[in-house]
Amino acid sequence: MNNLTSIRVTAPPETVIKKLSKANIALYDLKKEGATTTFAVKDKTVKKVFAIFTHPCYNICVVKYGGVRSFAVRVLSRIGAAVGCLIFAAAVLTAQSLVFSVQVGGSGSYLAPQVIAILGEYGVEEGRLYRGVDKPVVISRIMSLPSVTFCSLEKRGTAFIVDVECSPEGTKVSLQTPLLSPVTGTVQSVVAICGTPRVEEGQAVSRGDELISPSYTAADGSVQSCLCVGYARILVAASVTSRAEEESEQSLSAALAAVNLYSQEASVTSYSVKHASDGVIYTVNFTYIYTASINMQ
């Protein structure tokens, strides 16, 4: 983009050269075209040139503007094309910020349903606007899937690409069964990495109750099946009895120590001593935390 403005004037070249030379104006590309002379001058001297040829006998006009003005004139003279270009650019930019496909590759591609479900929770879904994603959080969620050793996320054009690599020694878990409670107790906490928790904290559960189901609800409201990954901590109340020949501190300690067979973190709630014909029977009531998990490494 040069900064020369092309001008046409009805005057002989000699006159043009003489007048502009006298005014100390640099002259470029002077040509004779019949009765007119075309030449170019720097943009900043255009007004001066018009002032020089202000006499009515000189028919002067600008043939082509230079510099920014030339660009503006070209754009305005092709307003349809300019608007089309702007619309196209806007469409390209909008398309760039959309996610048209979520691609899960790598040796862990069999975990695609679970990965897509996790991405969906963070707003990355096909056909939706991409507003960025907290990559470390999402990667840690995907890394918590069974056997996953590496994960990377990349937005490439309109595709969101996830590379998931799994340990070759790891067992490819494709279990899509729910997590059932193996004990009767009270739920202390439930963590569903994949799947939907079916119990709440403080809820009493019986043996066989479903804790986490292998499904999730998509953004469109549909229920999708997925791998069940997670764990639940359940407070279990239990009792243990032990027999001793006589009531003593040592016998009590032995009875309380039996609690540790169930859990190292068991806490004794009460105990009782019952005299029998051949000695005493200690009954120790205690609680402990049982952790039920599925597909956790």
């Binding site: 070249p13 000699e14 003489k18 470029y28 040509k31 004779k32």
Partner: protein, 81 residues
């Protein structure tokens, strides 16, 4: 340029009134005071006391400022009139 200066000095001239012609491209003229006539075939220049006539084809003035003149086109002859 030093050699050119020597030649011009020996001829009683100087580089301020010299010109250079590049065949098929154009010519560069110094010390031009004005253009006395102009046509695509012939351009008459006022250079010092001696008019210079440049003849050729498709001649046009590429640039003219403060005595420096560039004539573009196919120059076939330069005459001192």
């Amino acid at each position: 340029m030093e050699f050119l200066q020597q030649i011009l000095s020996a001829a009683g001239a100087d580089t301020l009134n010299a010109f250079t012609v590049v065949p098929g491209f154009g010519g560069y003229f110094k010390g031009v005071k004005g253009v006395t006539s102009f046509s695509p075939q012939k351009i008459a220049l006022a250079v010092g006391k001696t008019p210079v006539s440049v003849s050729g084809e498709d001649l046009s003035i590429g640039r003219f400022f403060e005595g420096d003149l560039f004539i573009s086109g196919r120059i076939t002859g330069v005459e001192l009139e």
